[in-house]
Symmetry: C2
DNA sequence: GTTAGCACTCTATCACGTCGAGTGCTAACA
DNA sequence: TGTTAGCACTCGACGTGATAGAGTGCTAAC
């Protein structure tokens, strides 16, 4: 499994360079590596190796007299084989914090599954990066738990559905004032019986026949009501986005230029783009890492995305993505996302993290990363 | 009504300076005023007047050889007496745009009254500034239009209420599995009858007696359900905030420093602070302008806030505030907020805007601004 | 194969000089 | 008495050049 091109020493040096660069944000020189990482080699030797690594495309130089910085290829190798995940979270959240998260996850029901929203907040806090959450399956495979039509005032009602990820959608119904609340109730009860337990995608318009027959309400009068219910169901198929900690982008020296910062924040506000970005990675149930230009959104070429998709009891809650400049603390992000997985599923261990460790013996690469 | 301290000429010059500074973002020199605003005076004369205005505290100088910029006192006089509101919107939104806004306002029902949220988006677009909207009365005076308990699955239900500003709140109910959906329905119907039309603040806990008696359900079993309903009603009393166009702050040269920009964006994320900021001004039903340090939030000393509170048919929809650096295009902001008022109420005119105009004859100050 | 030494390159930083905008003051003018 | 032209002065913006420091690649010795 060891990389053909690189021997052990080159890998060690590459890992040291990337670790240091992630930590210091400064191009890394040969002297730094020799001294700080006690390789037992002189800076001159390291210089030679670094020149090789540059030739092979793993490192690059901002300018002649600067140290090296990792290239995308370097980062790719790093996340696939080199990075060490031990203790990268740095701290366990306090018990109170955990309790708070747990309570909030279980207690609220909102537009988006609140579990995934709260989880996203947690990820952002743990990593100090921006996190983006998108809601559940949003592909029509969610099941309807309950449906109800709530009469609001004459001629106006509210369609409410609850999905299996405990998210709630509603839509306004403007109907004929002749329709009484009692009739609405009947329709509501019937639709609930009809739809509950079914997938969103299974609900089809011709069910109106059955509703009309069963309730004895004329089809034309029923139309707006059914329309409202369908609008509501349609909303269930919409993907919701929630961005947390967008401002944290301004902390990165990579975005110390206001124009650039503005650009990225405007991108983050583009819900359609963010959905695309995260969704593209949400097929697999594991972690997906996209480095720099591996992700296709223009303007995000200097950023990396790590996503994790979460399911509980077979219900897809959603996908959380962490977004930051390419110089991302990958191990920490991976650890945070795995930690949240543990929280969400209530089981599963990250106590003995897998993935590499080159320097600790093995060379297994169990972190499922999208291989470009 | 004319200011004691200032004669007509000084006011003209002050107005010209502020107009120009708002437009160009540059300290304004005497030559600029003389040439651009055709005062019929030489730059030397204007220089003398400007020196007076500075002495009186209406203008200040960044440094010796720069032009003048308005002080807070200068802005205050400007918004109270000097600014001209004619045609400040610059353009009427296209018919399609208006239609879009109208449709969205009427059609959606969400956590916050969508009317106020959509209005806030419109304001931000018209002014190119950040706008902050807070929801309705949120003081317990909203009335409940409808209430319903929706059974979700055994032991779980959802309380849904619709308020008079068409906002929807919901809360989860974890109840005894022995309670059947039919019982829930009975409770729901009873509560709806009991609560509908009443103010949120009127609902009191001892109503549980009546519910228990009327439905024949034991009080202990009923407790979680009533709790859920109360939680829901409690949420109705929460103020919701919606911020639109926060990123626009990054366009202002005043925030070209990333650190400063970060500070302000973090402030904008502090919902509690924003609620305080806007709420403080939401007592009056007119416009309130706070300039620089007139608003009490630390870190917003170099910003101004203009707020407008909107009610339709006696129902308070909410308050919209526009936030920008002190160098704000006040006339445009006022025009935009008045325009939105026209849109929301469907009547009322801003076609003949009031307020000053010093240079067009009158000197009335009808814009209700908070006098510090 | 490794390392010490050295010349070289490139950036960041700071001091310096210049330019231009705008002022305040004075003296002349209507 | 109010207005204006003229002028010396101030101060920030900007471009230039010198300097220091970090890091490299190469060569020769170990």
């Amino acid at each position: 499994m060891a990389n053909e091109e690189l021997d052990y020493r080159k890998m060690s040096i590459l890992k040291a360079v990337i670790d240091d660069y992630i930590e210091t944000r400064e191009p890394v020189g040969s002297r730094t590596i020799a001294k700080k990482y006690s390789m037992g080699l002189s800076s001159a030797t390291i210089r030679n190796e670094m020149a090789d690594l540059e030739e092979l495309g793993y490192l690059s130089q901002p300018h002649t007299s600067a140290g090296r910085i990792p290239s995308e290829k370097g980062y790719r190798l790093y996340v696939d084989k080199l990075m060490a995940l031990e203790d990268k979270l740095g701290f366990e959240p306090t018990p109170e914090e955990l309790e708070d998260v747990k309570v909030r996850m279980q207690h609220e029901i909102g537009e988006m599954s609140d579990q995934i929203r709260v989880a996203s907040e947690l990820v952002s806090r743990l990593t100090e990066y921006t996190s983006i959450a998108i809601s559940g399956a949003a592909d029509g495979t969610q099941r309807i738990k309950a449906l109800q039509v709530v009469p609001v005032e004459p001629g106006k009602a509210l369609a409410v559905i609850v999905l299996d990820d405990d998210s709630v959608k509603n839509a306004v119904i403007q109907h004929d004032k002749a329709i009484t609340p009692e009739t609405l109730m009947k329709v509501s009860t019937h639709c609930n019986l009809l739809f509950a337990g079914h997938r969103v995608e299974e609900i089809s318009m011709n069910m109106i026949n059955s509703v009309s027959e069963a309730t004895g309400v004329a089809r034309t009068a029923l139309m707006p009501v059914i329309d409202g219910i369908f609008e509501c169901i349609k909303k269930a198929a919409d993907t919701e986005v929630h961005t947390e900690g967008a401002v944290k982008f301004l902390s990165h020296p990579e975005f110390s230029d206001v124009g650039k910062a503005k650009g990225i924040l405007e991108l983050l506000n583009r819900e359609d783009l963010m959905i695309d970005l995260i969704k593209e990675c949400s097929t697999s149930d594991g972690l997906v890492i996209r480095i720099g230009s591996e992700n296709k959104i223009e303007g995000l070429n200097e950023c990396s995305v790590v996503t994790a998709t979460y399911s509980v009891n077979g219900v897809k809650l959603g996908t959380i993505g962490v977004l930051s400049p390419t110089r991302m603390d990958y191990p920490r992000v991976v650890a945070a996302l795995e930690y949240v997985r543990k929280r969400l599923t209530g089981a599963g261990a990250i106590d003995a993290p897998e993935g590499m460790a080159l320097l600790s013996g093995g060379d297994n690469a169990q972190q499922p990363t999208e291989v470009k």
